[in-house]
């Protein structure tokens, strides 16, 4: 059975993805900062889907540990899902470098650090799939979340470069740009119901798109068009808006 590694397995989107991949019979490697907290999910997947699952300690901000973490996995994964992220607080991050650096390093540096390791291994094996969860927030900077957005923009660009490079070694890289998703991360925000996806829908989209080797997935689908419009608003007008 193929193996999927989920980096940041505690989030709502990660749980939905884990269940989707488990339903398809994958062996699961669940990685997160606090592996003990992932035990219930591990049990849940084993019992519901009768698949094998393991949990592993992984800290996106502990860059030095990444190579070692990857080496000690029970098997090299066929699919790697990079799901972790940190929304943080834009306002706090403007004044407080600690918050700003946590946003930047979790969403960008941490992701690059672990995916560099994964990329080397998959390139050497000549196969594999890397799926990075970026965000539509990276498509254009807005005053309300440009720290998070710029880190995700960097991640999106990193993934497109990686896709270009690894294609030549038979490795597929997919970028996922979710719009609003109803998760614990966004629970305190008033999101418009019509534009907001449930984690299950996002997971279903991702699984299907990865099977079809799509390059960039917007989920829900209409975000591609919303972002097309937003990206095309001229800067002199855009900057006057309080977005």
């Amino acid at each position: 059975m193929p193996t999927v590694l989920i980096l940041g397995a505690g989030s709502d989107i990660a749980v939905a993805l884990a269940r989707r991949y488990a339903a398809a019979g994958f062996t699961l490697q669940l990685a997160g900062r606090n592996p003990e907290q992932l035990r219930p999910l591990e049990q849940d997947l084993r019992i519901r889907h009768r698949i094998a699952a393991t949990v592993h300690a992984f800290d996106a901000l502990d860059f030095a540990s990444h190579a070692g973490f990857y080496r000690t996995l029970p098997a090299p994964p066929d699919v790697v899902l990079c799901v972790f992220g940190y929304l943080g607080s834009q306002e706090k991050g403007q004044e407080n470098w600690q918050e700003a650096s946590r946003i930047l390093h979790t969403n960008f540096t941490g992701a690059v650090s672990i995916l560099n390791v994964v990329a080397e291994d998959m390139a050497a094996r000549g196969k594999g799939t890397i799926i990075g969860i970026s965000s539509v927030a990276g498509d254009r900077g807005r005053m309300s979340n440009y720290l998070y957005g710029s880190a995700k923009a960097g991640f999106t660009t990193y993934l497109s470069g990686l896709r270009n490079r690894l294609w030549h070694s038979g490795v597929h890289v997919m970028t996922v740009e979710p719009g609003f998703v109803a998760t614990q991360m966004t629970e305190h925000l008033a999101l418009p119901a019509l534009l907001t996806a449930q984690p299950d829908e996002v997971a279903k989209d991702i699984f299907k798109a990865a099977e079809r080797k799509k390059n960039v997935l917007y989920t829900k689908w209409f975000w591609r068009y919303i972002m097309m419009i937003i990206k095309n608003v001229p800067e002199p007008i855009f900057k006057k808006k309080k977005l």
Binding site: G10, P40, A190
Partner: protein, 443 residues
């Protein structure tokens, strides 16, 4: 984030803060820093029992923790819903020991309401099948069972979340050979006949009756009694016998928006009831059906609650002692005279009382829907007076409006329940709009 929330009856609507958690640590942190907290599952109780200043949603806390497939013991987090549990256990030859009329409730809700099913007279309510559970009380996370911390255990079963937040539940399942029910439907022309039929069929594991409560005279209380047993392998049709634990997939209907009030009136309700009664052309029908329509006839219509319009509805479910048949007649007559009854009412018999403030007690129970309208609450107060007079009580899970005195006068163990809750929830941290309305005064 604060938002307007209501439960299944769409009444009342309250502005609450709703937060969720998926890991124990997050829950502990939230409860330690907030007061006036109440757990909320899938919002299928009818009134205000899971609404309050801070509603903590358990829906993301939904992991299966253990399943002993040999002995039928299941353990999960409190936010897992019964439909998800059925999807896991039925294909492996197990069934829920007790299930209410909807599978869209969480296991935490099942415990807090101590739900009963069509098998109450034979197998008791949900609490009879719990091995142990964990509750985050005002004193911290505590494991309880009938042997360990029995006070906490029995006050949590049917305790409407007032002892704290149920986190995990371990319970026993029932072995089945097929996913089908061997059912028998019998038409009864009036109340006397259906009560007699209940008596004659009490050896059946499952029983209930649909009752048309708008009829008068000779057909007063005409109904269809439905009894059933889990079908054995040799009782299902050849096609189903190949995969006896699997059900054919079916489409679901939904009510997309609140229907305007005029759709449901005395005429349409009467018409519906007449058609429903007439659809059984023979007096007795015996057949084998999948478990879903037998246990969950309304689940096939998603959001059926919107049929009552935007003002919502309340469900009125009471129980009267077995020897108070005249009380049942008096109440039904009042409803029939008023003509405000619901589509169909559900009548069944209960076995003995389970625990402190669980709803069931040996007797007859009737559940009806009433759309919210002017004059409804005074009318229900009149019904309450009859229920009290005949020694009965109302189901807290479906209550949105009963007055304080009705509760305290009708639940004989209420005071003892309050004393136990006080020791586990000493600062009154866990409270709901309902517990405030009924004036529990923990702290």
């Amino acid at each position: 984030m604060r938002k307007n929330i209501s439960n299944w009856g769409n009444y009342p609507v309250l502005n609450c803060e709703e937060v969720s958690f998926s890991m124990e640590e997050q829950l502990l942190q939230y409860v330690n820093t907030h007061d006036r907290v109440i757990a909320r599952g899938n919002g299928r109780c009818y009134g205000d029992a899971s609404l309050g200043e801070h509603s903590v949603s358990t829906l993301r806390y939904d992991k299966v923790l253990a399943f002993d497939e040999e002995n039928g013991v299941f353990e999960c987090q409190s936010g897992l819903t019964l439909d998800q549990i059925l999807d896991i256990i039925v294909p492996r030859g197990w069934f829920l020991p007790v299930t209410p009329g909807t599978k869209f409730i969480t296991i935490g809700g099942a415990v807090a309401s101590d739900v009963h099913g069509k098998n109450h007279h034979s197998e008791g309510s949900f609490s009879n099948h719990i091995v142990s559970m964990k509750v985050l009380t005002g004193k911290g996370l505590t494991e309880c069972s009938p042997e360990t911390e029995p006070d906490l255990f029995w006050a949590t079963c049917g305790g409407m979340g007032l002892t704290g937040i149920i986190t995990t539940v371990r319970f026993t399942l029932k072995k089945i050979e097929t996913a089908y029910i061997r059912q028998k439907q019998i038409k009864a022309k009036n109340l006397d006949e259906v009560l007699q039929l209940f008596e004659e069929h009490k050896h059946y594991t499952y029983s209930m009756a649909w009752i048309d409560c708008l009829q008068k005279g000779d057909s007063f209380g005409r109904s269809i009694l439905i009894v059933g047993e889990h079908a054995t392998k040799d009782q299902v049709a050849a096609k189903a016998a190949k995969a006896p634990l699997e059900l054919p997939r079916k489409m679901k209907l939904t009510v997309p928006f609140n229907l305007p009030g005029f759709v449901l009136n005395n005429f349409t309700v009467k018409l519906f009831n007449a058609l429903y009664y007439a659809k059984n052309t023979r007096r007795v029908i015996e057949n084998t059906v999948p478990y879903e329509p037998f246990f969950y006839p309304l689940d096939a219509i998603l959001h059926w609650n919107r049929g009552y319009g935007k003002d919502g509805f309340v469900q009125y479910q009471f129980v009267l002692p077995m020897d108070k048949k005249d009380g049942l007649v008096a109440i039904l007559q009042k409803i029939s005279e008023k003509g405000w009854g619901s589509f169909l009412a559900v009548l069944k018999t209960f076995g003995k009382q389970d625990d402190l403030i669980s709803f069931p007690m040996e007797g007859y129970t009737l559940a009806l829907d009433f759309p919210v309208r002017n004059g409804l609450f005074p009318f229900l107060d009149e019904l309450d007076a009859l229920v009290l007079q005949y020694g009965g009580r109302l189901y807290l899970t479906k209550d949105a409006r009963m007055q304080e005195r009705v509760f305290w006068d009708s639940y004989p163990n209420a005071e003892r329940f309050r004393e136990i809750v006080k020791t586990w929830n000493p600062a009154g941290k866990f409270r709901s709009a309902q517990s405030d309305r009924l004036n529990f005064q923990f702290a």
